[in-house]
């Protein structure tokens, strides 16, 4: 825990910067329902450019759902709908009917809990996002693939076997490949849904390093069950419980001196 706090304080400078900017994502009084089952209750939250925001909370608290609302992945679920409130990115309501969900998802990339590269070559995985956009020039695609793999700190490990099946990589490499795949589409915001839950500690370390590096260019929202991880990588942390946002503040504050009793109980392991 000490380590985690140290990391957080190091990040406080960038936090101050971001606070001065206009929020990148603004969630306003959001209610979200699956059919008649309300899973998010009246959540309001701002996420600023180039910060790492961590969502923590026990299972079923709605943090993943909220994350998936940010690039409308919930559209896939039958009966998922907004009750009231809105989510805005750069002042645009995501659920307005004029919003093209395809364009939105290009700007708001997502990395999933289970690393799930396509059963194709490493190269094809990274190039996928470009190819479906209709980019055919091999030069452009090659350059973008290399750039993305470099950003994802994977280039050195895979540059000699780009044409091998992605499932030949280790779990951690696969997850970084998924991140590279997301970077290739040039998003502004990256959503990560428990990106390290299936990885061993060493691989987790590499992914966390990567997140801290990516922070310089991207806004990152991470859902995590691992509180140390939240402490290590995030600038701010939001704690959810039963679909409600209990508290959102600087990570240091949440971990050392939370305002709410529930937060303290959760952090200290009394429940959850």
């Amino acid at each position: 825990m000490q380590e985690a706090l140290k990391a957080t304080s190091e990040n406080s400078q960038s936090l101050m910067d971001s606070k001065n900017n206009a929020p990148s994502i603004r969630i306003k009084e959001l209610d979200f329902l699956y059919g008649n089952n309300q899973v998010i209750h009246d959540v309001s939250l701002d996420i600023f450019p180039k910060e790492v925001m961590a969502f923590i909370g026990p299972s079923g608290c709605g943090k993943s759902t909220l994350l998936r609302c940010l690039n409308r992945m919930n559209d896939l679920v039958d009966g998922a709908r907004i009750g009231k409130g809105s989510i805005e990115i750069h002042g645009v309501n995501l659920h307005h009917k004029s919003v093209d969900v395809i364009e939105l998802r290009k700007k708001v990339g997502m990395v999933f809990q289970k690393s799930n590269p396509f059963p194709k070559s490493i190269y094809q995985n990274v190039a996928y996002g470009l190819q479906i956009q209709g980019i055919k020039s091999k030069q452009v695609v090659d350059g973008k693939v290399e750039e993305s793999l470099r950003k994802a700190a994977l280039w050195e490990e895979v540059k000699d076997r780009l044409n091998e099946n992605a499932y030949g990589l280790s779990g951690g490499q696969q997850q970084r490949l998924c991140i590279a795949r997301t970077l290739a589409v040039e998003p502004e915001i990256i959503l990560m849904d428990e990106p390290c839950s299936a990885l061993d500690p060493v691989a987790t370390g590499r992914v966390e390093e990567l997140i801290l590096e990516l922070k310089n260019e991207y806004t990152i929202v991470v859902v995590t069950h691992n509180m140390q991880q939240a402490g290590r990588i995030s600038d701010r942390t939001a704690f959810f419980y039963l679909g409600k946002l209990i508290e959102c503040d600087q990570t240091k504050k949440i971990f050392l001196n939370p305002n709410k009793q529930q937060t303290e109980d959760y952090i200290s392991g009394k429940f959850g």
Binding site: D78, K106, M110, P119, I132, N165, T182
Partner: protein, 558 residues
């Protein structure tokens, strides 16, 4: 096992209710399994052993005739050990050979020279018959004869019409029925004349078309008109017949010359045919009674040649038991391939909609229920459905296309269910990551679901279709012919005709041979041979699908 013997240790075997049940059930289950195994083994052994004797006839060599020939009648010559089995084509080949031998013998004999001289003389005499002088005389004779005949007949009919009441009494009928009876007589007469004057077909048709309305409402007056018209018509006949007699006469001459040069049985056959054609025209022109001496001596001088060609090769004939099953193999392959293509295209698109686009709800479960129930519909019902929809309503007749669609609809439930399963077995993660990278739904399906589901889809679909290809009922009304002498690619006027022709098919062939043809040892051979080939074909298609699946699986593994 005396009751006094106590178990020596705590784990000694004791007979309890549970133990008895256990051993009974074990035996029972094992027995059941072995029974199933036995039946399956018997089926394969039966077909393979009996079929193999047909496919690898006698010396273990592949029976090419069986695999590459059309079905034919089997001619069995001799009995017991000396029995020779020949399919029609070989039988007639053998007969031709025998004729050739006998013919050669005849040519060597003295009788031959004499017969030849006789024939030559007769032909030269006969040639005068189509000389211009004799034909001019014939014209007159013909006209006089025919006009007399017509006058006789018409006077009889007119008489019947003059006194209707009297006629009615004679024929024991009502007076008002007499005209219609007379019309029937006249119509019958012209029907006969049409056959006799077949060479002036066009003219007699014209005459009939002009006179029929009058015949329908016959009276004395128009009977006379018809008679006049008919006599007028007769005057056009001789010219045509003159020409024909000259023509056929020359034909006789030239075929005779050819025959004289080569003197083979085939040439003799052609010559004999020319004589028959000539004599037909001759008979209608000169009349049946006209028999010249020449004509009689011609028949007499032909006799020795005819005798030389008369070879008997007694055989017992069994329909459908000879030849091969090549058209049926081709037909079945065509049916399988076409039905497979249609079923997979229809089924996969349907499954994609159900699995990827369909929202769970009442409508969708109704659709699923319908598809599942479709799988339970008996194949004969599908046959009737195909007959009603494709053959009758869409007017495709008995055709490949109708068979394809009928079979495809029959396997559609299997293909849809299997494809849906295959699509559902693709991890949700592929879909989510694809969408998260900015793919539209169809792009997502096309690039990151369908390619990975394809192995599963293809395997189960191909197996399903291969199974359906064995069905007789769906094709018997829609696509299958019991016998067809052309292969599907033969005699097409336009390439689209390919789809609108019926074909022979293995299952239907087995059905026809075993149900429609009188049974004997030879048809049984045919059935088993067909079944054997059919079994191999199905096994082949199934293994093909498995190889295909393994190939694709290796490409996409996760």
């Amino acid at each position: 096992m005396s009751p006094s013997r106590e178990p020596k240790h705590p784990f000694a075997t004791r007979i309890t209710r549970g133990r008895v049940q256990e051993s009974i059930m074990f035996g029972f289950l094992r027995g059941m399994t072995f029974f199933v195994l036995f039946c399956a083994a018997f089926l394969f052994w039966d077909i393979l052993s009996k079929g193999a004797s047909k496919v690898f006839e006698g010396d273990g060599m592949l029976n090419w005739e069986f695999l590459t020939e059309h079905p034919q009648t089997l001619h069995v010559i001799g009995e017991g050990k000396d029995e020779i089995k020949l399919s029609s084509s070989n039988y007639f080949k053998l007969k031709d050979e025998k004729i050739l031998v006998k013919w050669e013998e005849f040519r060597q004999s003295d009788e031959h020279d004499q017969a030849r001289r006789g024939l030559d003389k007769v032909i030269n005499l006969l040639e005068r018959e189509w000389g211009d002088d004799s034909l001019a005389q014939s014209n007159e004779d013909f006209l006089n004869r025919e006009c007399d005949n017509a006058a006789n007949k018409f006077s009889f009919w007119k008489e019947m019409l003059v006194d209707v009441n009297n006629t009615a009494i004679d024929f024991e009928m009502k007076p008002e029925d007499v005209p219609s009876m007379v019309s029937q007589f006249i119509l019958g007469h012209f029907e006969m004349e049409r056959g006799r004057f077949s060479l002036v077909e066009e003219k007699i048709t014209l005459f009939r078309a002009m006179q029929y309305p009058k015949i329908e409402s016959i009276s004395l007056k128009n009977a006379e008109q018809i008679e006049d018209a008919y006599k007028l018509f007769l005057s056009v006949v001789p010219e045509v017949y003159n020409k024909s007699i000259k023509l056929f006469g020359r034909e006789v001459r030239s075929s005779y010359d050819e025959f004289m040069q080569v003197e083979g049985p085939k040439e003799f056959g052609r010559f004999a045919e020319a004589i028959v054609a000539y004599s037909n025209v001759r008979e209608s022109f000169w009349g049946k009674d006209y028999e010249s001496e020449n004509w009689e001596s011609l028949q007499a001088s032909l006799t020795p040649f005819k005798r030389a060609m008369n070879v008997s090769l007694p055989s017992r004939d069994y329909a459908y038991s000879g030849g091969g099953i090549f058209p049926a193999i081709v037909g079945t392959l065509l049916l399988v391939i076409g039905a497979m293509a249609i079923a997979i295209v229809l089924g996969v698109f349907c499954a994609i909609f159900l699995a990827e686009y369909g929202k769970s709800g009442k409508f969708l479960s109704l659709v699923r229920l319908a598809i599942l129930n479709l799988a339970g519909v008996p194949s004969i019902i599908f046959g009737l459905f195909g007959f009603g929809l494709f053959v009758i309503f869409l007017d495709w007749n008995v055709s490949l296309l109708a068979g394809w669609f009928t079979l495809a609809f029959m396997v559609l439930p299997i293909v849809i269910t299997a494809s849906e399963e295959a699509l559902r077995s693709i991890p949700q993660g592929f879909r989510e990551s694809s969408l998260a990278l900015g793919a539209t739904k169809w792009t997502m399906i096309k690039t990151s679901v369908l390619p990975f589901a394809m192995p599963g889809i293809l395997t189960s679909s191909i197996l399903g279709v291969a199974r359906a290809a064995g069905e007789t009922a769906p094709i018997m009304f829609t696509a299958a012919y019991a016998k067809r002498s052309e292969l599907p690619w033969e005699g097409l006027e336009h390439w689209t005709d390919f789809f609108f022709q019926g074909v022979m098919a293995l299952p239907y062939h087995i059905y026809v041979v075993s149900a429609k043809i009188p049974q004997n040892a030879y048809t049984a051979d045919m059935q088993y041979g067909t079944a054997f080939v059919f079994l191999l074909l199905v096994v082949g298609v199934a293994s093909l699908s498995i190889i295909l699946r393994n190939r694709l699986r290796r490409k996409y593994r996760w």
